[in-house]
């Protein structure tokens, strides 16, 4: 595939880059869109400010999913969140995937496009998992160049999320937050701060989650994720199948104080409860933000 033909072709695109990399707006308090809630959302008006959609669920030829998404985006701001960008893979980028992502973004006009700081496979295989990376200078240089390429291809700055990890590599040369900070500074990408993932990784690797929180530059964070997990005693698995736990609510309060007003959402991927239960969690996020950041409430 000819990569050059897929890059922005004119000098004007460079001038546009500044506008395209403008900081995404504050959207309020949202929810991950799931098929189980389609009817309830479309037939009612749940008090949710915006929806995040899993990009791959709509990278399809046609049918009901895309039709529903068209109707959702007529009523709510939408953000695209992918799981297969594999930005940290050392394999060549999948340009067919990128083209599909760009086509969907053109159709949906999301407020931003996000994915994860991870890789999903090499040698043409896809493990469909958010795999960890060593926090080395070599990895950082590689990921910076990949982010720049993807941003040029998509014509917009992307947003990258910290993932939950279960292992740490012995050859790390910096912390995860130092890596994310450098990545954002050098590539211009924005950061999605997953509060639950910070909690999970901090527990799994034995560091204070507040060190992570304090180590991330406040002006680069444009979104929070809130989610639940499964505690295995000696480690935590990021299952996204439980309500947000008290400790993560506590870390959210600290994140509000550190980062201020940030678009925030509940991300439930499994064991999907009735919409009301998730709306209650969205309301709790909203109320906590109103208390902690009274001047920005609403």
């Amino acid at each position: 595939m000819n990569v050059a033909s897929k890059l922005p072709s004119s000098a004007a695109s460079l001038a546009d880059r500044e506008a395209l990399s403008a900081k995404p707006p504050f959207l309020g308090f949202g929810l991950g869109l799931r098929a189980q809630h389609y009817d309830e959302i479309l037939n009612g008006h749940p008090p949710i400010d915006w929806f995040e959609v899993i990009s791959e669920n709509y990278m399809l030829p046609g049918g009901q999913p895309l039709r529903v998404l068209e109707r959702i985006r007529e009523r709510y701001p939408v953000v695209m969140h992918g799981v297969s960008l594999s930005i940290a893979s050392t394999a060549p980028p999948d340009f067919d995937y990128l083209q599909g992502l760009r086509d969907l973004a053109k159709r949906v006009e999301p407020k931003w496009v996000s994915d994860h700081l991870c890789w999903t496979g090499v040698h043409g295989k896809n493990l469909h998992d958010l795999l960890p990376i060593p926090y080395t200078r070599e990895a950082l240089d590689h990921v910076v160049s990949r982010v720049q390429l993807v941003q040029d291809y998509l014509g917009r700055a992307i947003v990258l999320e910290n993932v939950s990890t279960y292992v740490q590599f012995s050859n790390c040369e910096m912390t995860e937050w130092e890596f994310l900070t450098e990545l954002s500074r050098r590539s211009g990408c924005w950061l999605l701060f997953d509060v639950n993932n910070v909690y999970v990784s901090a527990f799994n690797h034995g560091y204070d989650p507040h060190s992570f929180l304090e180590g991330i530059p406040a002006d680069r964070v444009v979104q929070f994720h809130m989610a639940g997990h499964s505690h295995m005693g000696t480690h935590i698995i990021d299952t996204h199948d439980h309500p947000v736990c008290d400790d993560v609510w506590g870390l959210y309060a600290a994140a509000l104080k550190r980062f201020g007003r940030v678009s925030t959402m509940i991300e439930r991927d499994d064991n999907i409860p009735p919409l009301d239960e998730l709306v209650a969690e969205v309301n709790r996020m909203r109320e906590m933000a109103a208390k902690i950041l009274p001047r920005h409430a609403g």
Binding site: M59, G62, S84, T90, K125, Q168
Partner: protein, 261 residues
Amino acid sequence: MSEFARQQNDFQRGILSGDDSILAEILDSPKEKREVLYGVYRHAYGSRLVDALRNDHGLLHSYLGDEMFDAMGYAYVAAKPSHHPNLRWFSQGLPDFLKTTEPYSDHPVVADLAALEKALNDAFDAADAPVLELADMAGFAPELWNTLKFQPHSTSCRLDVSTNAAAVWLALKNDETPPDAVALDEPGRLLIWRQDVTPMFRELTAEEAMMWDEAANGIAFGVLCSMLATYDDPDGAAARGAGYLHGWVTSGLLTGVSSGD
């Protein structure tokens, strides 16, 4: 190969093949050994992909039960690693796998059932296209009818099965006990498509299946009627052809019609 690439290679190989060499580069955590922590990724790999199969093949899961479905699923995962970034397409090869892999190949109803579920899944998110209406047909003068050619709807698909998988599917869908699997004397000819947002299927007679397949090949209505005449009463061939065509149009199975060569 860079050090980073080498490390990813070893990490992936450890998940896919059970090789433990990557463990030498991973730390124990304060509370858990590295084998257990890395094992989270090993376990998640298979279970996530089998979950995807369960999601795409809910009725096959009901038919086989948890234990047999999981054994089948893990065998498929081992034989057919995912090469597509979208999990939606992982199960595409399952019917062929079941058709060609023992012990599943000894029970052809399993592959047939998987093929029917796959066809319905594919219809669910197939490309949208206009639906031909009866009014669109009314515009053609009678003398043009023999030259009409029909374009199947983008969601439509034909499937031949060698077993009573359609009856099994229907029973499972209605939460009823499925009939015993039997081999059919002649293939079951199924037509699958999407009506609005709902995937559907129905069984065709040999005659209607022939007409559908040949219409999809671009054969004009007049020739189709001549072909129908070889299946049954030649005098009624045109009426039967018009009847099938009416059914296709009212079911939303066609997207276009044109006259001429």
